[in-house]
Homo-oligomer: 346 residues x 2
């Protein structure tokens, strides 16, 4: 069956006539180019709305712009990512750019490659890669094809911009809080990492490093106890089971992400261990689930909304000027203390 003929599309010429401006002016406004005055933008925007004009993305794709931002999310279940996404879409609201999400694969470099290739292939104007695990050279390959902002991952590249949280400080905030409550046996659940690039750049690796440094700074180097699983609820569950099986149990667990802490709370409840009476638990990301009454999880707030807004700023900037030097934005986290942390049992 052939597609039925669609009604005639409103074109850029119709918009220009309606707004009583030149097609070049309409085009400038659509491209968000410099040299379009606010008054001109307002006129063109009004005509676009009144006529219901939609730029044809396929046709634009052949010319080089689709007004689409591809966002690779490694795990749609991690409740931190919607925070970033909210900040991003809010900052893009008054632009012609539309966000489409590509679900990556949790800890699966092949799945990540597939979805990023698919997004490049579909003509995204820019890409946002959230906590990508691909090699540095692969990220640079992507960034050479299309303006790219890498979120969460540290490290400097001339090819792409980064927005990340100061994860060393975030980990130190958790350890400092637990130490001030009187804890010494503080364990950490990390997301396993062996690749040297990723050990230097991934937020999970840097949180684990921050945990070690903070333990040492507090004279607790001998108490360092790290369990390696994954940043998932299952990873937290498995990690807590290992820690609860220790002959000397920790009195506090610092989970590297809220989603991990949720798994810890699950395992701990099953084992009949009371939180925070027998065991304190802290997470990282300050997600809405952490704030939830029955959960009430102490967690590090890395300002996901702000991360998303900074990401939008950088990518619009990079679309306008692909030759500008790459930028690294580092945001400072804060600690939100809730009911899951308290002094250790005496």
């Amino acid at each position: 069956m052939e597609k039925p003929t669609p009604p005639r599309r409103v074109t850029i010429v119709d918009v220009a006539q309606h707004a009583q401006v030149s097609t070049t002016a309409v085009s400038k406004v659509l491209r968000n180019a410099y040299g379009a005055s606010p008054a001109m933008r307002a006129k063109v925007q009004q005509a676009i709305e009144e006529l219901g004009y939609r730029p044809n993305a396929s046709a634009r794709g052949m010319r080089g712009q689709t007004y689409t931002i591809g966002v690779m999310l490694p795990d749609i279940r991690n409740p931190f990512f919607p925070e970033i996404l909210d900040g991003l879409t809010e900052a893009l609201r008054d632009t012609p750019y539309q966000v489409l999400l590509g679900p990556g694969g949790c800890n699966d470099a092949q799945a990540e490659a597939r979805v990023t290739e698919a997004m490049i292939d579909r003509g995204m104007d820019a890409m946002v890669l959230v906590a990508p695990i691909s090699s540095r050279s692969r990220l640079e390959h992507i960034a050479r094809s299309v303006p790219t902002v890498v979120v969460g991952r540290h490290g400097h590249s001339d090819a792409y911009d980064t927005v990340s949280d100061d994860d060393l400080t975030g980990a130190a905030l958790v350890v400092g809080h637990l130490v001030s409550l009187g804890h010494r046996r503080i364990a950490h659940i990390e997301h396993a990492e062996t690749d040297p690039d990723r050990l230097a750049e991934m937020p999970n690796a840097i949180r684990a490093e921050g945990y070690k440094r903070a333990m040492q700074a507090h004279g607790l180097g001998d108490e360092i106890d790290i369990v390696s699983t994954t940043y998932t609820q299952e990873g937290g569950y498995a990690g807590a089971q290992q820690l609860l099986a220790r002959s000397q149990r920790p009195t506090a667990i610092f989970a590297g992400a809220d989603v991990v802490a949720l798994g810890v709370l699950e395992a701990v409840a099953e084992a009949g261990v009371s939180v925070p009476g027998d065991l304190s638990v802290a997470g990282y990301d300050n997600t809405t689930v952490a704030a939830l009454g029955p959960v009430s999880l102490t967690s590090v707030d890395q300002a996901g909304h702000h991360i998303g807004a900074e990401t939008a700023r950088l990518l619009l900037d990079r679309i306008r000027d692909r030759e500008r030097p790459s930028a690294q934005v580092r945001l400072s986290p804060t600690l939100v203390t809730r009911r899951t942390t308290a002094p250790p049992p005496s």
Copy 2:
């Protein structure tokens, strides 16, 4: 700055030569057309993998296929939607189709229209609309442009397929469980709905209707008590606050979705009401958060994974044959009882 020239792309001709088959055969396999034998598929797939061939989506877009499935999710925070998505992507794994997600707007028809138009504009081969709130005529307009499966929403249309849960039965399971525990004052928090089409078709409206019918069937028509908010955590919080302010409080709250129940648990914890001692709480969707130790929420399982798999089957089928009659798949829910429901206080 011009984009650097990319290395020469692997073409369909290279694949055909490598697999020692005709380009027509390769094309058939890529289109998932009938008449390509399993042996032929295997040969071509192997050549594609060995050469790292990627069909060029932009070029295909102009010819009519981009091998992209657009999924509109109304709310990326609702923990039920990843379940559907998992089932969908798993069922598409061995096909050339890539899923891209368009974040809709929670209860915002304009945002929903914007994202669906954007996805059509970008040449999606098929669309999946999860619990869309748009008018029937708008959904049919979308389905006339591109093969469409509507998920969650009931109602029959010749233009699109639907996959939904039997929400009447789901609501009856919750009420029956609470009645069998001894509850009579069972309240319900619904997602507000006034549009007549949506009252007849949206899962939230049908759950509310199922609640009313089940209460009547149990001789509890006089106890029907519905609070209208939204299917969000905030909606659950606000709804519970209203119910807790009643002179005669309910002894059980049936929240129309797990995300709503989470807000209920939050408000209830703040008010110092104990669950399930003073108040039973049940949700709908059986999300991973419901299963979480500290939450342990009684909930209706509507088999999101199965919904996603059925959706994939229907859309592949519809891409192959756009003229086939539309299909309606209705799945049966089950109840998972956990710690948030118990007999009422005596």
